[in-house]
Symmetry: none
Amino acid sequence: MTGPGRGRPRSEAVHRAVLSATCELVEEVGYERLSIEGVAARAGVGKQTVYRRWAGKSALVTEAVLTGRLAVPDQTVRDTGDLRADLLLWLQALVGLLGQEATASLVRATASAAADDADAAGELYARFTGPLHATLVDRLAAGVDVGQVRPGADLSAVADALIGAPLYRVLARAEPVTTSGTEDLLDALLTGLSPLPPGVPAEGIDRR
Amino acid sequence: MTGPGRGRPRSEAVHRAVLSATCELVEEVGYERLSIEGVAARAGVGKQTVYRRWAGKSALVTEAVLTGRLAVPDQTVRDTGDLRADLLLWLQALVGLLGQEATASLVRATASAAADDADAAGELYARFTGPLHATLVDRLAAGVDVGQVRPGADLSAVADALIGAPLYRVLARAEPVTTSGTEDLLDALLTGLSPLPPGVPAEGIDRR
Amino acid sequence: MTGPGRGRPRSEAVHRAVLSATCELVEEVGYERLSIEGVAARAGVGKQTVYRRWAGKSALVTEAVLTGRLAVPDQTVRDTGDLRADLLLWLQALVGLLGQEATASLVRATASAAADDADAAGELYARFTGPLHATLVDRLAAGVDVGQVRPGADLSAVADALIGAPLYRVLARAEPVTTSGTEDLLDALLTGLSPLPPGVPAEGIDRR
Amino acid sequence: MTGPGRGRPRSEAVHRAVLSATCELVEEVGYERLSIEGVAARAGVGKQTVYRRWAGKSALVTEAVLTGRLAVPDQTVRDTGDLRADLLLWLQALVGLLGQEATASLVRATASAAADDADAAGELYARFTGPLHATLVDRLAAGVDVGQVRPGADLSAVADALIGAPLYRVLARAEPVTTSGTEDLLDALLTGLSPLPPGVPAEGIDRR
DNA sequence: TGCTAACCGAGACGGTACGTCCTGTCTTCCC
DNA sequence: GGGAAGACAGGACGTACCGTCTCGGTTAGCA
């Protein structure tokens, strides 16, 4: 009875309409006040159409966030050979995104979705923060290979800090997230990671 | 007519019962599925009694978290003169708390409450993460005074990283938060913050 | 915990508003297309308020019908000593009611409610058709006492016919219910019920 | 383009499957809770196939009832020359059917369908109760011809009573419909309809 | 000792949203 | 073209909570 290609196929346009309505509403009212009913109405779609595709609010927001504004830009760290420059570029791009209220709303919604539902948290980790984290670790590991980073350091913990610091600032909402301090944090970490040659020659610290 | 002390005074016991019911329910079902009605029922209290004292779910959870398990322990950083040991002690205490599922739930609820309501975020910052952040900055500044930390570094950004790294791990829910990597992160940061050893050229560190 | 007089008392006005909205909607759209949601909206009331008081559509319609237009008039058969006149008066009043579209709608809704739900059917029988039927049987029995009706006849079956005949015409919807035939039916039944006149051969009446 | 015999002819088997699924479901859940979707699923048929052939629930149930169990038996009144015996046979057959819960369900559904939709009521009258009523009137009229029934009586009203009395009992659901009273009702009516025997004084008929 | 005000539990109130089911229409592939 | 499958917009279902309100019944300070 049931099989592939049976019945009317699901509409791509509907999928997109629902996701973009979700993004809009997340930015406007936040995760808590987001309702499936509101999303369906905004997208001009029946509620069942939403429930047919997503298990609930957390899954919907997860996919909306993943395919929306937060999708691409910060998951790649370039490798130009200059570790500090590469990380700084990435970090400033991230901070630039988080400085915009729209993006900050999405990140807060992401945190709420992850808090709401362990499955959504897993999905978000698998497709968003996980790859991002891995990318950072990879770039740092490449730094190890070329002697810019001391071997043996826990690169994962460093990546946690690079992601966690701006995340904390967004969630705390104490002040708009700016690039201030970005460079200092990066330098502190990189200096700490730099290989210590005997006698600490200048080139041991200077990783440019 | 109306004045202070007129009428029946608000019951302290009720206050405590509501807050502890809130904590229990946050741990059991999380912020999203927490309802005022459920809290009132668990506390054996009328709904009005809750609404009389708190503006809403975010305010209630905020106070519950602030007066509950997360209240005291991690807001103090000792100063024994050994910066690394002091920070490590604090960091490991924090990580130990976050490793418990009950505490992790509270932190996730805190993030949700802050995402839900800017007022609650402000309150949480003013009474929780703000002081904690300030305490870290103070301890680092004391390290500057005794020559353990290079002057001029953005200590606030470092504190962001010390708070943000474990926070990220709790929210990402990828794996239970453990002390693994804690020391490495701290060492990386502190090494980076350490004063220049003699003979290291200034431009090797100060990039501004 | 739960007890009488605890909490805010239920509003009488709300009760009436819901019942009269129900009657209006039954007349406008019929039982099938009546929705609790529509009733609540028309009555300016929350859905929960309806569900708090009635178990469902059938119970709601049952009470609406019982307390509304169908309530009083046709449940009494006068006893003036003249059986034919009393029954004719009652029957014509009933037929007059059923001839109005509004009343006919209520009766059709009553039949639908009884068909929908055995509990509602029981309630309707206990409070509406049952008493009406009993009233007819009583009046006929009084006729037996004064010698207007032959003893031994199944008065209940006759009452069934007096109620069922107009009921059938309303439900069949073949033509508006009018008084035509009313008198003839009554005469046929009453003649059949009359005591044997002296000299009439037994087999002329008793066919058993 | 479109014309008779174009394309695949409609399947007879499908028609029957849908109608018998409808009958089953009417008996199981009643008219109100019957859904087209449920019928289609039970019949193993697409919804469109149902909508292509019937205008809606009322039309579907109408046809299901008309072609099903209620179809044949009670629409014929034999004429053996003995009016009482013929009517009694028919009436007892009818009451026998209504005494079965399955048939009673169908009758209740018929009433609901007629209440739901005037078109269905018309169809039901034209093909079911109308012919049945006509058949009764015909048999009574034949009784007039052979002198068993007094001329001039409103035979239609009598037929209403013969149909309406058991109908009322089914709808009222007060007790299972049995043959008790059947004979008494019939005798009362037939006596009332019987021609005046010669020599019976006027007051013998005058039922006051 | 009695008055008045505020608190308290309970729970009804008008609403919003939930997640499910069904309606009647449509679109796809298959016969 | 008919037919099974199933997506679609829409709407109602019955439930859970929202935040407000109104009850009867405390529990205090003030007269």
